[in-house]
Symmetry: C3
Subunit: 257 residues, 3 copies
């Protein structure tokens, strides 16, 4: 399914996306999903998972501010989504900073997410390789993590997206790269987390590889547009939300190679 | 008390508003209350309710990201407010998505909030009717929920506000409608939740029906102003906060009928 | 270390700052730290403290939305930082509103933070004096709290910053004042909390008194710049983030006396 058609379909269908994400990202991720044309729902009570996850078009899980109560909900939601063939996206934020977080990420990964999104340091570290990641920011190049991405894609049957100056996407066989965006993007907190939420919206709309590719392209297009108008990270964030809403479907193909 | 006088009084008195709200809304709701001229306080520890709620001008409760620990604080705060005649506002976000949430909303409603605010789907579902709501977004028209609003107002002795393209307000006897705003408002997350917080600020300043009406009008006026300057949902949010701060008291009456 | 050199060093070193802060501040505090040139990490799971705090350049603790689970993490992180000589900043938000919060603040203070930051009402109340604070907003003048600041600095061996229209800083011996900023700053929620996070970034870069002074100056400079461009609190916040990123090191000395 072409990126052009996916964005059109996303706006037509306005899919409901169940987001279990971190406290930093809650607001901006919801605004990103809304601006793109889908409907976010931040719900995490364990009592609600069995009823709510199945009525959503997709689920996204981000471990940015994980703690044990949230981890239980994440595991339950991932299991529910996998059992019911609801596409879901895993964002293993900074999983290498502690034993607790590393194990939480591996347990979620073992549930076989439809899409796995991370920066280069996060993807590298999921295969046990030692990267140069620091907190939520990547210290490794996207190129250096391509091998790890292919390995994870094959091992877990997942589409893997590495985001960075040039994004890399693979399902173990197919590959794509997406360029554009802006150096201001890492200066706005939780934009990566927000992209994970947006990938859920696209995954509710079409096949996983195509969906992840369209989500990457949508971000790069909007990032480039916003950068032309921004005077710094504050105005960039505002223009970025506007640009996500105003992106035309035909623009997505222009940043993919 | 006229809307004009309520806004003037709100800015003069700068009432303290105890907000127990959801993670998505925390920041924007606080900014909305501050921009309007009141003082928000996001406090939810159960140890603090008995001391803190009574010193506030109003309480607002929003169940958007409810879980059992928060539910206990919400119930304690609602009981404290009701016992001490402190006005309080209930926002039963998407209560129809799970048994857990539906019961939580009904338990809070049984505490007889001073004002109940929701979208059409939420108000309809509180009476047991089946609406077309999806997540936090309404799938029903405001008109379709007017009967439910009157019924709830009479049953629980509360003022009921249904927000939508044209807002509807009733205390079971009196009715009012508020028009204006912008189609961009539902594209910014948690604006409804933020309006609930603002209603608390107004409820600290004057009688419940008048307060809810002024809060609805303030939002519509600011929304219309912001829409004229916005290029999308990102810039809309920024202009909306500016407009809330810059709204002149005389403007409120212009959107009420 | 001069403010000029500290800002240059902060941007060169991009220190990792462990922030345990409140739900309202999470996003804006991270954006403030990023805009200034450092790397924020919002991590609070008790399982992660022993591994994560020691690899950070500084720790900041803000009790704005404290509850018992978070309090345990705050205490563990403060103890870890103190034991390992990692600079840490305490922000005792509205600690006077309840017995629970007052005791939590005193327990953290007893861990001897490197820097203590609060508004005048918060600093006054830490010494047991009764101020006019209301929720998170100060009801007392900075001047009225200078004696309390000196007393706390001597008693706990900490640098104390009182923020307000003119900031006051002391380590019990040295004193400084920082002017500038804008009356719009208190109309944007969690800017004080965000300054605490930024102080952590500076404290990771140089000596405590100098670091706190540079952080205060950076805020005042950016606040003045943003105020010239703002039409209200919404646009102020955007311009403020831009201005934090665009502040030139030489500007900091201009607001200090």
């Amino acid at each position: 399914m072409a990126p052009h058609d996916l964005l059109t379909a996303l706006r037509d269908q306005n899919p409901l996306v169940h987001c279990i994400t971190n406290y930093v990202a809650m607001n901006i991720a919801a605004n990103v999903v809304l601006a793109a044309g889908a409907s976010p729902a931040m719900v995490h009570a364990p009592e609600e998972i069995a009823e709510f996850t199945p009525i959503c078009g997709a689920l996204t899980i981000n471990i940015g501010t994980i703690s044990t109560p949230w981890q239980a909900s994440m595991m339950a939601a991932a299991a529910t989504a996998s059992a019911q063939n609801i596409p879901w996206v895993l964002d293993p934020v900074a999983h290498f900073i502690s034993v607790y977080r590393r194990e939480a990420a591996q347990q979620l990964l073992a549930q076989r997410p439809t899409i796995l999104r991370g920066n280069a340091s996060e993807i590298l570290a999921l295969t046990g390789e030692t990267g140069a990641g620091k907190g939520a920011d990547s210290g490794d190049s996207v190129d250096a993590a391509q091998g790890a991405a292919k390995k994870l894609a094959a091992q877990f049957g997942t589409v893997v997206a590495i985001t960075g100056p040039v994004d890399y996407l693979t399902d173990g066989t197919r590959e794509a790269q997406v360029s554009g965006g802006s150096s201001l993007m890492p200066q706005v907190t939780a934009l990566g987390c927000s992209q994970t939420a947006l990938m859920g919206a696209y995954a509710a709309t079409g096949p996983a590889f195509d969906a992840a590719l369209a989500a990457l392209a949508h971000f790069k297009v909007a990032g480039s547009t916003a950068a032309q108008r921004a005077d710094g990270p504050g105005s960039f964030q505002m223009h970025f939300l506007d640009a996500l809403a105003n992106t035309q479907p035909f623009e997505l193909a222009q940043v993919i190679r």
